[in-house]
């Protein structure tokens, strides 16, 4: 009997094998059309794809699918065909909270897609590069990237270069020197007879007053989730108040100042000061007592409800503000920099971008699509704002008004993402709903700003892979609670540092220093 069962298992296995083989490559993120994309490359070669069937590319992005996505992208594909680009685009949406794990899985299992979004404040693009996940797109950019080159400044494009080759296309959608500001609610300041704070101490004291006088049930806590990365948390607002500014924190662990000095960030005096500030917020009840378990959507919901007073970084729109204060106007959010007279620094040259995975069969088609988008305002408008008259109306050269869809929670049925595909030269602003102060700081170039000396430096942790994995994991466990102020620096730090050192912090910092010195030497040549 046992033997019989074994035989049967073998037979079943064979059936399963053939079943799998036939399906190979097509079982990707649920597109019935994916089989068509297999056939395309053969016909596309040689004739630039003008007459042949278009190359279908899959573009993987974080977020949820807008209600009218299919309708808009049908138009996008029609326009791409009409313009003879020879590319057809399908977007695949992955919910933001599942982004890292799903994308990593797709990359490591060799799933076929052609373009994906990069958020450097979450995962530096070098991290994908170091895993061998990115395709070299230098040739494609050279051949098909004319509009990209024209609309993305060289120093920003250089940030996507590793060893002289391009591995990503930066999204030039935001002035990175905006890092270091915070948004404050001017209406709430007025209600409490407070002045705009100019120092961290004044900020805490104003916030305490607001907290004490707050009437609503949801308190205006700092709307954020826990992390130990100052760039992601935007505690860079404090750095401007330190004598040692300008400096930046790269890749979460490395303090780099403009003299090229590298230090272990968590061991610096500046880290301590940050942690002490955050501790004060925590003990004074300004940070949520449950900050360590806050989820991204909770923080987002807080901002959407208008129940906030200060946000590190930019936030808000009129609709959300009016939920909390019906009389609020777009002028009621102010942008504050501590020590505004100090230098403005870009920690990275680009935060968002798009890259082609190494398994893509159509890297040039992905670049063609990105390039096409910047070929005309019309193309850009279609991808970013949808169909004119249905999703938005134009409002002058640079303005637009979103058309709210009653069937979609009274939000526009389609909206592209500025961070994913935006470009400052083409961007339109919602003149009614968006916050002018934020638009200015985000989308106007700051001529006085300088790039961090390490802005375009890409760290390769291959030589210290074990240690790098371990410090990353250890930091989430022992550094985050201290940095968020839940644990007191003086009491907990030495133990945490001990664990970090044991996990290999010194070795990683030394490797970083070594690679950075080499990079600087090469730059000066």
């Amino acid at each position: 009997m046992k033997k019989h069962v074994m035989m049967l298992a073998a037979m079943a296995g064979l059936t399963a094998l053939t079943g799998c083989g036939g399906n190979n490559g097509n079982n990707s993120v649920g597109s019935p059309e994916s089989s068509a994309s297999q056939a395309a490359p053969a016909t596309q070669e040689g004739n630039q794809g003008e007459q042949a069937a278009p190359v279908k590319i899959k573009y993987v992005v974080p977020g949820t699918e807008p209600k009218d996505y299919a309708e808009v992208f049908q138009k996008v594909n029609e326009k791409l065909a009409a313009d003879g680009v020879g590319v057809e685009v399908e977007k695949i949406f992955i919910p933001s909270d599942a982004w890292d794990q799903k994308l990593n899985l797709m990359l490591s299992t060799g799933e076929e897609f052609d373009l994906f979004h990069i958020m450097q404040d979450r995962t530096p693009f070098s991290s994908y590069y170091n895993r061998g996940a990115l395709a070299d797109i230098s040739d494609a950019i050279e051949k098909y990237g004319e509009n990209l080159k024209a609309n993305i400044p060289d120093d920003i494009f250089d940030g996507a270069k590793i060893g002289g080759s391009y591995y990503a296309v930066p999204s030039f959608w935001v002035e990175m020197a905006s890092e270091g500001e915070f948004d404050i609610r001017l209406d709430i300041l007025r209600q409490n007879n407070l002045e705009v704070p100019t120092t961290p101490d004044e900020l805490i004291s104003a916030w305490e007053t607001v907290m004490a006088n707050w009437k609503g049930s949801s308190k205006p806590y700092l709307p954020t989730t826990a992390t130990f990365d100052p760039i992601s948390l935007h505690t860079t607002i404090l750095h401007r108040t330190y004598d040692t500014f300008p400096f930046t924190v790269k890749d979460k662990f490395f303090y780099v100042n403009q003299n090229g000095e590298v230090k272990s960030w968590i061991e610096t005096e500046e880290f301590k000061k940050d942690a002490e500030f955050m501790r004060e917020l925590y003990t004074k009840g300004i940070t949520s007592p449950d900050i360590l378990v806050m989820k991204t959507e909770q923080a987002k919901a807080q901002l959407d409800s208008g129940d906030w007073f200060v946000n590190f970084g930019t936030a808000g729109n009129l609709g959300a503000l009016q939920k909390n204060n019906p009389e609020a106007t777009v002028e009621d959010i102010g942008v504050v920099w501590f020590n505004p007279e100090k230098e403005y620094l870009r920690p990275l040259t680009f935060k968002n971008g798009n890259a082609v995975p190494v398994n893509s069969k159509h890297p040039e088609a992905a670049v063609k699509f990105l390039n096409w988008m910047l070929a005309s305002q019309e193309n850009y408008d279609l991808v970013q704002y949808g169909i004119e008259g249905e999703h938005y109306t134009k409002d002058g050269d640079k303005g637009m008004q979103a058309i709210n869809d009653p069937d979609n929670n009274n939000k526009p049925g389609y909206k592209g993402s500025e961070s994913q595909l935006g470009n400052i030269n083409f961007m339109r602003f919602d003149l009614v709903n968006s916050i002018p102060a934020n638009n200015k700081v985000l989308y106007e170039l700051n001529a006085d700003a300088v790039n961090s000396i390490a802005a375009n430096f890409v760290f390769d942790p291959t030589n210290v892979r074990t240690e790098y994995t371990n410090i990353t994991t250890e930091a989430a466990a022992s550094v985050t609670p201290i940095y968020m102020g839940v644990q007191e620096y003086d009491k907990s730090f030495s133990a945490a540092l001990g664990k970090m050192k044991k996990a290999g912090l010194d070795k990683v910092v030394a490797e970083y220093q070594k690679q950075f010195d080499e990079y600087l030497a090469k730059q000066s040549q």
């Binding site: 490591s108 991290s127 061998g132 007592p289 449950d290 371990n470 994991t473 466990a477 839940v486 664990k499």
Partner: protein, 313 residues
């Protein structure tokens, strides 16, 4: 002779399949499933000993020996995490089994059909709620300023406790949640075993003057032991696999609780979410499987020695 015998076996198998085709058809989906998700994944174990390259795939990677195991074993966490994984699972198995047993015995004594069905459904219900939903319920109980528990404490004149920063209470909370969610389901299996017990045994006992408690102690529980042992053995096989869905949903990225709640699965997930190296994940997976194998084998060996009827093989 040998070929003859083999041919006879094949013919026998064919006949057997034809004769019992319905039974074979029933087992087919499970076999296909096991084959695809079990045996077909074996080649991927190679990745644990390679520097996995996204482009080259699993057969052409560069060999690195045991290097991928280093990140786990050289981290100062290896012991704590392995301990947590086993400790939490032991708690789950012991309390889960005891509660399920108790529930099934009590349900067995119930005579009102309606009440029996109702209580069974109520106990079964948590099994179908996802951990994510439970995490929000738990948050409603334990959050600092809005949590029900803290509000009760405050009403009693006691200060609020920030539960989400108290690692010591979490093994208890996790065990409670696990038992609450799983006991109803396991009780159904035990109840089925009890229903299968020969009624004549009880009748004979009754004639001999045994009361209900004695019957329970001398008949029901001993006859349930094989099932209990098999289920426990199966759980022990998975003792190195923490309940990732549960721990990740309930504890998430809350570093202050890792000391008592971080298990191999969450640790690896966290490491790899940021670094994204499948080789290291596979290395740890292999380690889990190896230990799980030794544990099942060992426990079965012991069971066979001391309780022959309960052994799996």
């Amino acid at each position: 002779m040998d070929t003859k015998l083999r041919r006879k076996h094949i013919v026998d198998l064919g006949m057997d399949i034809v004769r019992n085709r319905a039974s074979y058809l029933l087992v087919l989906p499970a076999m296909i499933y096991t084959f695809i998700f079990g045996y077909m994944t074996y080649p991927y174990m190679l990745v644990a000993f390679q520097r996995f390259n996204y482009k080259k795939g699993i057969f052409n990677g560069e060999w690195v020996g045991f290097h991928n195991f280093e990140f786990f074993f050289r981290s100062n966490k290896a012991f704590t995490i392995t301990f947590n994984t086993i400790f939490l699972n032991v708690l789950f198995i012991v309390f889960g089994t005891l509660t399920a047993l108790a529930i099934s015995l009590v349900l067995n004594e119930l005579r009102k059909k309606l009440f029996l069905k109702l209580s069974q459904s109520v106990m079964l219900f948590p099994h179908f709620i996802s951990w994510i939903v439970i995490s929000y319920v738990l948050y409603a109980f334990f959050s600092m300023d809005m949590g029900i528990i803290n509000q009760i404490l405050n009403k009693l004149g006691l200060p609020s406790v920030n539960w989400y920063t108290e690692p010591t209470v979490w093994p208890v909370i996790l065990t409670l949640m696990h038992v609450w969610k799983g006991a109803g389901m396991s009780a159904v299996i035990y109840l089925a075993t009890i229903t299968g017990i020969d009624d004549t045994l009880y009748e004979a006992a009754q004639i001999d003057g045994a009361n209900r408690w004695q019957m329970c102690l001398r008949i029901t529980i001993p006859l349930m032991m094989p099932t209990v042992i098999i289920l426990t053995l199966l759980s022990i096989g998975k003792i190195m696999y923490g309940d990732f869905g549960m721990i990740y949903a309930l504890v998430g990225d809350n570093g202050t609780l890792y000391q008592t709640t971080d298990i191999i699965d969450t640790y690896v997930f966290r490491s790899l979410r940021q670094v994204g190296d499948p080789s290291e994940a596979m290395a740890v997976g292999l380690f889990q499987s190896a230990v799980g194998f030794v544990l099942v084998f060992g426990t079965n060996l012991l069971t066979r020695k001391y309780f022959r009827d309960g052994a799996l093989y």
